[in-house]
């Protein structure tokens, strides 16, 4: 875990409302892993107090850079969208647990819902370099929220939109069912990030089909280092709660007490 100030090296929109930002990552620091996140201190003038968490979406050891994909939502993300390369941000990283390695020979199926795409891109890139033949299913409300990325040419990608404006007409879960109905349901393991209803639907499906399923969870954070007990979600076992910032954000979907 490192706390440092680092320059923005690239910052640009990739589709409606979503942006990608690359930041310098000092080469002497341990590299971040897929599933881990960072927090950014709100820059002066945003009127915001608490650091904002973002999943790491890529790490480039050659250029010593990390990347995040973020959605313009409120004060801090709107400010970020207007930042120029050369400006510096105060970063705390890498935080939280990473996605585990896929089990045995299982084919990794990666599901991303909306802005949950960031950590799935990082996981996809890292799995590709170890020829595990992953599949990426990317769901969004409509085509304006789907970027066009070189990554999609290197990995089996299924795009799904709620309104059918691009790719499969339906949710990412509908697309998964259709993909599996085509005979791709043999030996798979799920990795997902997205809205809670999507993750819950996937958890139910994984349980019914007895498959491993790893989900990345979001929760409002205070400290992001395990000290404040503010970011918990209900889980089975323990005292009934787990801290998303340190025990997560990656959880076995069966551990979570879905409501």
């Amino acid at each position: 875990m490192e706390h440092f100030s680092t320059p923005i090296v690239h910052n640009a929109p990739i589709c409606e409302r979503y942006h990608v930002m690359k930041l310098g990552w000092p080469p002497q620091f341990a590299p971040p892993l897929p599933g881990q996140f960072l927090t950014i201190q709100p820059p002066p003038g945003t009127g915001a107090l608490l650091r904002r968490p973002f999943a790491v979406s890529d790490y480039d050891p050659l250029l010593s850079q990390i990347e995040i994909v973020y959605e313009r939502r409120g004060s801090v993300t709107s400010h970020l969208a207007a930042c120029r390369p050369g400006e510096s941000l105060d970063i705390l990283a890498p935080l939280g647990k990473a996605f585990p390695e896929p089990t045995g020979s299982a084919r990794p199926v990666l599901l991303a819902g909306g802005i949950g795409m960031g950590p799935m891109f990082f996981l996809a890139t890292s799995l590709l370099s170890r020829d595990t033949n992953p599949v990426l299913i990317l769901g969004a409300r409509d085509s304006t929220l789907i970027p066009d990325l070189p990554l999609f040419e290197r990995i089996d990608t299924i795009i799904a939109t709620d309104d059918g404006s691009r790719g499969f007409h339906g949710t990412s879960i509908d697309a998964l069912h259709s993909f599996e109905a085509d005979g791709n349901d043999m030996n798979v393991e799920y990795f997902a990030c997205g809205p809670m209803p999507m993750l819950q639907a996937l958890a139910v499906h994984a349980e019914q089909t007895s498959r491993k399923c790893w989900v990345s969870i979001e929760q409002t954070m205070g400290c992001a280092v395990g000290a404040c007990m503010g970011c918990v979600i209900p889980v089975h076992g323990g005292n009934g709660y787990a801290r998303v910032c340190t025990e997560g954000p990656i959880f076995d979907s069966q551990e979570i007490a879905w409501t």
Binding site: P42, L49, R51, T220, C223, A227, M229, N239, Y241
Partner: protein, 302 residues
């Protein structure tokens, strides 16, 4: 330059502490700051039995503030002794266990047990947490009950006992005097202010328990005024807490009459805030040709 602060018989190396509930049990911040540079570390509340804490969501940001409803989530006295104590006991800084409970008995038996199984520098009695329906708020709101709890704890330990006051009362000086009379070595002022946030889209309060405790820069002037009044009502040291985020806010407390400080929410924003504050205090002392932190208060309205 004398940066030390005396709490009971204990000499704390410098006036900058970290507040209960915002710094875990120290190990969480080990990689981010040099824990030796902190004056005193106040642990998350420890209760007799473990507590799971409140329903979610537990925190929400407000204008310049943070509203929390953690609900004293903690591992209990035995979990504390087993899992947290070994790390804390190896630290160079002073370490105070923040103790909470629902009854006078709870406080006394927890302190007595910790004195035997997990002795650290001393105790801070959280009689003020607004999140637990019974106990917390009602004890801290009554001079009679604060006096009784303090007396009971005083009787079971020789270590410094600090009573942490709640601002959610009519006359805080009355409560402060009651704690002093019962043998408290110092007072912490203040805990969080009761607050509420309502989501206008859903017409629901954001926190499941409806209200929570407000902290952060938004509460600074409240804390400074409270320290100003309390430090004039008692002769034991007062530890200023609430909204400190840098040298300026810290110095306001010292000018108002605080002998020491605790920083809470600001640790979340900048884990190095304690270093910045201590540097700021040093600079202020040299600028004003002072030799000790205790002299700062004499500058107010001179």
């Amino acid at each position: 330059m004398d940066l030390t602060v005396k709490i009971g018989d204990v000499v704390v190396s410098n006036p900058v502490g970290v507040a209960s509930g915002t710094f875990g049990y120290g190990s969480e911040y080990e990689q981010l700051i040099d824990l030796k540079s902190i004056g005193a570390l106040f642990t998350k509340a420890v209760t007799w039995e473990p507590r799971p804490g409140n329903r979610i969501p537990r925190i929400i940001e407000t204008t310049s503030g943070l509203l929390n409803s953690i609900g004293l989530a903690n591992v209990g006295r035995e979990g504390f002794a087993k899992e947290k104590y070994p790390f804390l006991s190896g630290l160079a800084c002073s370490t105070f266990v923040n103790v909470a409970g629902n009854t006078e008995d709870d406080y006394a038996r927890t302190v007595e047990w910790l004195d035997e199984h997990a002795p650290l520098t001393g105790y801070e009695l959280n009689v003020s947490c607004p999140n637990v329906k019974e106990g917390g708020l009602s004890i801290g709101g009554s001079a009679r009950m604060v006096e009784a709890v303090t007396q009971r704890v005083r009787a079971v330990t020789d270590k410094p006992v600090i009573v942490k006051l709640t601002p959610n009362v009519t006359d805080i000086t009355e409560i402060a005097r009651a704690a002093e009379a019962a043998g408290a070595d110092a007072l912490s002022a203040m805990n969080t202010l009761v607050g509420m946030v309502i989501d206008v889209d859903t017409c629901q309060s954001v926190l499941p328990g409806k209200t929570g405790g407000l902290s952060g820069p938004a509460v600074l002037p409240v804390g400074v005024a409270i320290v100003y009044r309390v430090s004039r009502a008692v002769s034991i040291p007062v530890i200023g807490i609430g909204g400190i985020e840098g040298p300026d806010s810290a110095l306001q407390y010292l000018l108002a009459g605080a002998s020491a400080l605790q920083i809470g929410t600001a640790n979340f924003v900048d884990p190095t805030v304690t270093d910045r504050v201590l540097d700021g205090i040093r600079n202020f002392l040299s600028q004003h040709n002072l030799t000790a932190v205790s002299e700062i208060a004499s500058l107010l309205d001179r």
